[in-house]
């Protein structure tokens, strides 16, 4: 009885609280990292006043937000207005219970055999908060922002889910631990499932309303979108939810496609058993590897934000429905064909070829087309 209590209640709660704390810390750190990194990319400094290198900016901001006046717009729907910022946070943090950060059972809060399904189900509920909040604010810009976010998140939920199916077919399990285990003895999933990985990556950007899909809060169009009317801690909750979801999705892509906590392929390298051989320190090392991989994707979010313009709403829908969904369906079909032929391992070759092609395209020297200046003559721009 006591054992069961420990295994199923006390330990999970303790682990959840630890994970909760760590995620909060990452979010606080991310606000500083994102702004400093953007500063670095945009020939400016970024926050550098609070503490050394502005390190305490992540603390100063919440303090400021807590002290700010909490405004309730006139004729706002009070209940929905309060619920709006709270809803996205709950699934974002709950999902952390399901992600194995390190070798189980010590470094995962729970191990659920339908983990992936549960994550997809939970994370899709976050959109309710955005819709409610935007609608309840009694502001046309908020309404448009929430409608955009509703349409966007619902549309991108589909390729998001479909892209995962390829991985499921190869691994044959919804259990995230099994998925990681599969990757350490075979190739990491991003090689055989390169297309799925790409789709997952694009739709996870769209799910999080990040550039170039940041339409729901498009500053230059909708002022601030669904959170235009929010101030103080309520606004902070929206941001907290968004950043938590970013971490969730980065963790997910690491778990599904990039080998989770392991640093091993074909059973060579830091596999789970090697890490287990090192005891608790090995577990921590696994968590560290996971963390580094996850932060890489967090930084890619920032990099994208500094680089891309924003899609238009209809173009976003086009990309989702007309490109990503057919592509993910085709991926499922191809994966199925390979599995039928018993050749699923050779799918890695597709990944290798595609990555090589992309690299060649990227580093190929393209001479910039410069318009020739002919004095006094007509010159066409472009």
């Amino acid at each position: 009885m006591n054992d069961a209590l420990m295994t199923y209640l006390i330990w999970p709660v303790i682990k959840f609280l630890i994970a909760f704390g760590i995620v909060q810390l990452i979010i606080v750190a991310m606000t500083w990292i994102e702004r400093r990194l953007l500063g670095l990319m945009q020939v400016r400094l970024g926050p550098n006043r609070v503490g050394p290198f502005g390190l305490f900016q992540g603390i100063a901001d919440p303090v400021k937000l807590m002290l700010k006046e909490d405004i309730l717009p006139s004729r706002a729907e009070k209940v929905a207005y309060f619920l709006g910022p709270m809803i996205p946070i709950v699934p974002a943090f709950l999902v952390f219970c399901l992600i194995p950060f390190g070798p189980p059972p010590t470094f995962a809060v729970t191990q659920v055999n339908v983990g992936l399904l549960l994550i997809l189900a939970l994370s899709s509920t976050a959109v309710f908060g955005l819709i409610l909040g935007g609608w309840a604010s009694n502001n046309k810009f908020s309404l448009m922002g929430s409608l955009r976010s509703a349409a966007q998140m619902v549309s991108y939920e589909v390729p998001f889910g479909l892209s995962v199916i390829g991985v499921l077919m190869m691994v044959g399990s919804l259990d995230l631990v099994q998925i990681v285990r599969y990757q350490e003895i075979n190739a990491w999933n991003f090689l055989p499932q390169i297309v799925a990985c790409f789709i997952f990556f694009v739709s996870m950007n769209a799910e999080n309303n990040r550039t170039p899909f940041d339409l729901p809060e498009a500053e230059s169009e909708l002022v601030a979108g669904y959170h235009t009317e929010y101030s103080g801690m309520k606004f902070a909750f929206f941001m907290l939810g968004e950043y938590a979801m970013m971490i969730v999705n980065s963790s997910l892509i690491v778990t599904l496609f990039f080998g989770g906590w392991t640093l091993a392929m074909f059973d060579i390298g830091l596999t789970t058993s090697v890490l287990a051989g090192m005891g608790f320190a090995g577990g921590l090392l696994g968590v560290f590897i996971f963390f580094v991989k996850m932060m890489t994707f967090m930084l890619i979010y920032v990099w994208f934000r500094a680089t891309f313009p924003r899609f238009r709403f209809d173009q976003l829908m086009d990309l989702g429905w007309k490109f990503l969904i057919p592509l993910s369906l085709a991926n499922i079909f191809v994966t199925g064909a390979f599995i039928l032929a018993g050749q699923e391992q050779s799918m890695s070759l597709i990944g290798v070829v595609l990555i090589a092609a992309a690299a060649i395209q990227l580093f190929r020297k393209t001479a910039p087309k410069k318009p020739a200046a002919v004095p006094g003559k007509v010159m066409h721009a472009g």
Binding site: Q42, P309, P375, M379, G382
Partner: protein, 371 residues
């Protein structure tokens, strides 16, 4: 609730992407614009009426406040108009003429840089904003070391220029023009071939050449539609006939072409500056003002004169009664105001997101629209 299809949204006057205090009353069906009606006047200061009560030299600083991101060209348009009215255009010393061209070309670059910054950030690309401001800062530093002001320059006088270039200014300018082309490459690297940028600008707000002429559009929007009309070439002033530069035109008249036209114009302005540097070194220092009396009292008559400001044809129409030191009537033909007329026609049928791109591509400054 559900049978209402149209929604009326006030875009501005307090909105991040209306570039000041423009208010656009937008009727939308979902995200599609049925009608967009610009409502102006929030920055109206009665500049034209003020000019009737000030002596001509007093008017010059007020022209700064019209297109406040391109004050040098405003100064130039005004002082040239008064000079034309007085009939002293030919007496302006050569050094002053070259300096005027240099100031206006620097101002053109700085204005186009601001256009690019705001246009890009409206479409969601955040980084070009900071890149362009890096170079704009250097131009403003050049202005500052010449006349002490960075934005409202007041850097021209009727009859010439107020003072000579400070020592080392030409060298600073040389350093700037040498690296500016590379900077434009950098902005273009972020945007010109970017797929998302193209999807957001190609085919958006197409302005046919006929429509552009009918609306009286001038400047880059007109040239973007494929009409080669640049007052620096069409009705040359100062030393422009001696200079070698190209007037770029677009093919399709869409937002993308207007963007490209401005990018080439920046390079061409830089090219003009490069040509001006040896010219100004040849001229003797200190010879900056025509010999005119301190009290400016033009003869009776009226005159219209226009120049190519960064945003289009900036013209002044001045009537003098020949007796007083102030204009009897002064009318301004601001390019922003005239170009803004096309906004409803351009925006109709597009999405809300395109509206901000269109406001950006017309490149308005509300100080000039409202005056």
């Amino acid at each position: 609730l559900f049978d209402v299809h149209e929604m009326e949204v006030n875009f501005g006057p307090q909105h991040p992407s209306t570039h000041g205090v423009l208010r656009v009353l937008v009727r939308i069906d979902g995200e599609r614009i049925i009608d967009a009606k610009p409502i102006i006047g929030y920055l109206h200061r009665g500049t034209e009426k003020l000019f009737e009560h000030m002596t001509y030299p007093q008017c010059v600083p007020h022209t700064d406040r019209m297109d406040y991101v391109a004050s040098a060209t405003n100064n130039l348009a005004f002082v040239q108009t008064v000079e034309k009215l007085m009939g002293i255009t030919e007496q302006i010393p050569r050094r002053a003429r070259i300096m005027r061209v240099m100031m206006s070309e620097l101002q053109r670059i700085s204005s186009h840089l601001l256009f690019l910054a705001t246009h890009a950030i409206d479409i969601g690309a955040m980084t070009p904003f900071f890149y362009t401001f890096r170079e704009r800062e250097e131009i403003l530093d050049l202005f500052e070391s010449y006349c002490g002001a960075r934005l409202t320059l007041n850097c021209m006088r009727i009859g010439g220029m107020p003072e000579d270039l400070p020592p080392g200014w030409i060298e600073d300018l040389e350093a700037f023009v040498d690296k500016f082309d590379a900077a434009v490459d950098e902005y273009e690297g972020l945007l010109t071939n970017n797929r998302i940028w193209k999807r957001r600008t190609v085919g958006i707000g197409v302005l046919s050449p006929e429509d552009a002429i009918d609306w009286g559009i001038t400047g880059p929007p007109l040239r973007g539609s494929g009409i080669q009309w640049d007052l620096r070439r069409a009705l040359p002033y100062e030393i422009y006939p001696e200079l070698d530069f190209v007037v770029p035109i677009g093919r399709n008249g869409d937002t993308y072409d207007r963007y490209l036209v401005r990018m080439v114009e920046m390079r061409q302005s830089n090219y003009i500056l490069k040509q001006c540097i040896p010219l100004i070194r040849e001229t003797p220092e200190g010879d900056l003002k025509a010999k005119i009396s301190k009290v400016i009292r033009p003869p009776e008559g009226e005159v219209y004169h226009s120049i190519e400001s960064p945003k289009g044809e900036l013209g002044f129409y001045i009537v003098s009664d020949g007796k007083t030191q102030n204009a009897y009537r002064c009318h301004v033909r601001p390019p922003s105001f005239v170009n803004l007329q096309a906004l409803p026609a351009l925006a109709r049928g597009h999405m809300v997101s395109d509206l901000v791109a269109l406001i950006g591509t017309i490149d308005i400054v509300l100080g000039e629209v409202d005056r």
